[in-house]
Amino acid sequence: MTSTIIMPQLGETVAEGKVLAWFKSIGDEIREGDNLFEVETDKVTIEVQAVVAGRLSEIRVGPGATAKVGEVVAVIGGDLTTKAPVSTAAPVAKASQWRSPFEEVSTPTGRFGPAKGPNGIHLTPLARRLIAQGGLDLAGLATETQRRGERRIDGAAVRAAISARPATPTGPLPAPPPPLPVPECNVISLNAVRLRTAERLTENWRTIPHVFQAIEVDFTAVNRVRTSRKADFHATHGFSLTFLPFIARATCLAIAAYPHINARFDGKALTLSRDVNLGIAVDLNHNGLVVPVVRRAGELTAIGLANAIRRQTEKAKAGKLSADDLSEGTYSISNNGAFGTTFTAPIINAPQVGILSTDAIRLKPAVVSTHEGDFIAPRMIGMIGQSFDHRAFDGAYSAAFLSRLKQILETRNWNEEFPSDL
């Protein structure tokens, strides 16, 4: 009995995939779940696993060759064939670990700031990386260190500062990591993933008439619940409760009232989607962008969304996203809050028709109306923005959606999202 291995569906708009490496050779005994080959798409590289067992008898698409989705790339079972694959490159044990003899080490190109901090304080390389990645205030840390009579900041000091940091973003804005160095005439070639991302973004930007709208939202109610729940949440789930799951939950609820937001547009017709499959844009440490999808997000509570988003971003950062994780998104959220920006106008991920952006949420003086009059009060304020495809609907529809979203975020009883036993 023979089974064929086909190039899998690699994402909703991907027509073909390039085989980077085979992990198995002709004649190898394959077990279900074995990694067969690695394939590159425009977003990620994916390891394709066997779904049947048997002996690998033929490889039709060798390393470096491209196959259309659905095309047979290899055969399991049947007679051994000595026919050479398209490329004769030898299979390697694990493609990601193979290195050319001329690149025996890979020197990191990222930079995390100078070795000397404010007032001549020394920073270890690990400390510099942790400060940049944790968005820590270096000046404050340096002052603190100096007050203790120390001259050096090491990894332990930064970790202590991170764990002692208050979780509510009421302090000074976190310092953004310094940008990657771009010395004069230093040409950075894009890798295949970046190149194809660039092509997709250009195509979307060129063909979709983008309109951007933003609305100011008072997150004080959300923050009150988040603050009261965060310790229990962290103890139960092992990570911090951020604003994002609340925004994602409110988005799903608002979509129920404005379903045209959650749809695909093909130039002639708008196809509304029953499920909300929410794409979450994840920055890969300044080294690319992926948008893993949380499926059927409309059926999840804020806690469920927090867990699902966490799962997908962890997978993205570990490079473990599969084709399923990246396909069939119906709406996306781009979250830039960590760096303190006010608002972001994102590019729509076709064939979706809208993308939401959230930015910094911080205390600001705001006018609060009560029955005793209007007052200025410190409130947690943030901008929610949306880029939408003007062919799919008009500004008034988008504005009504944003207004509904704002209303949900400001007035919903968010305690209901949390089971009473938590």
Binding site: V105, S106, T107, P125, L126, G155
Partner: protein, 326 residues
């Protein structure tokens, strides 16, 4: 399971491969009837006879020349160079001939042989019979280099070396021959190019080889109990290929790296590891990489001077403690 000395493990490892494969032959000085000057090959001559276990004249070039010819024509020889220092006498074979044969003949010839050699100091043999020369061999493209620290690893890595299709230099440590270790029954086969984490720890990584491994482990115990430092100890085992992933993974965890090397400091193997870690794991480093080595001197024969020259457990403890507190 049996308790075996490192020296007995050498004989068992060779016997295991000679029993398995008719093509495996063994040659060297006094390895036959005498059972080896370090008694590492006792019983092999009696078991496998004079055709497969051959005593040679005192000529390192003859030993390696014969072994290379045998390997090129279908045998799988194990050749002994009694003292690693005298690899220098036959270095042309190692550096220019056997290591380049497969490449220069475009794969028409291979050289599947193992050079066993008694490496290292600590046994009062003086400057010409005590050197740790693993770094000499590590620098030659075309040979693999291993240096086991336990009886179990001696057998497993010997099997891996004999079964490898290319030349492997197998550094046995003269000062380890008497140590004992548990060894399971039956065939033991290990993999070249793999390091072993012998003691997991959080605070720093100590990378060691051969005789330095038991000293690093002893130092780690003292560091734990007397100074509260939880050190991870890695036995490198194989210099070529080098298991960089295990070392880099450990440094990513601890942020601090110490190498403990018996070879003289200049161009020692730890310098290569320090270079790789500085390159690949710079942003994981929480302090300078520190090498603990024999100084760049001819090794003295006098007891107290030799003990002073080679890294000791006490020196490892002192250095790690001073650097981590500094």
């Amino acid at each position: 399971m049996a308790e075996l000395t490192y020296r007995d493990a050498v004989a068992r490892g060779i016997a295991q491969e000679m029993e398995r494969d008719e093509r495996v032959v063994f040659l060297g000085e006094d390895i036959g009837k005498a059972g080896g000057v370090f008694k590492t090959t006792v019983g092999l001559y009696e078991k496998f006879g004079p055709r497969r276990v051959r005593d040679t004249p005192i000529s390192e070039q003859a030993i390696l020349g014969a072994a290379m010819g045998a390997a090129m024509t279908g045998l799988r020889p194990i050749a002994e160079i009694m003292f690693a220092d005298f690899l220098a006498v036959c270095f042309d074979y190692v550096a220019n001939e056997m290591s380049k044969l497969r490449y220069m003949s475009n794969g028409q010839f291979a050289c599947p042989l193992v050079i066993r050699t008694g490496n290292g100091g600590g046994v009062r043999f003086g400057a010409q019979h005590s050197q740790a020369v693993e770094n000499w061999t590590m620098m030659i493209p075309g040979v693999k280099v291993v240096a086991p620290s336990s009886p179990m690893d001696v057998i497993g890595l010997m099997a891996a070396a004999v079964r490898d299709p290319d030349p492997v230099i197998f550094h046995e440590h003269k000062a380890l021959y008497a140590i004992k270790g548990e060894v399971p029954d039956g065939e033991i086969v290990d993999r070249l190019g793999t390091a072993k984490i012998l003691r997991p720890g959080r605070d720093c990584t100590i990378v060691a080889l051969a005789l330095m491994v038991p000293r690093a482990l002893a130092a780690a115990e003292t560091l734990q109990h007397e100074h509260g430092v939880d050190a991870e100890v890695i036995d490198v085992r194989s210099l070529v290929p080098l298991d960089t992933q295990t070392i880099l993974g450990s440094v990513a965890k601890t942020g601090r790296l110490f190498t403990v090397e018996e070879n003289p400091r200049l161009c020692g193997w730890g310098a290569e590891i320090a270079s790789i870690v500085a390159d690949e794991a710079f942003w994981d480093l929480d302090g300078p990489i520190v090498r603990i080595t024999t100084p760049h001197i001819p090794l003295p024969a006098a007891d107290h001077l030799e003990d002073l020259a080679l890294p000791s457990a006490a020196r490892i403890v002192d250095t790690v403690r001073r650097v981590l507190n500094g």
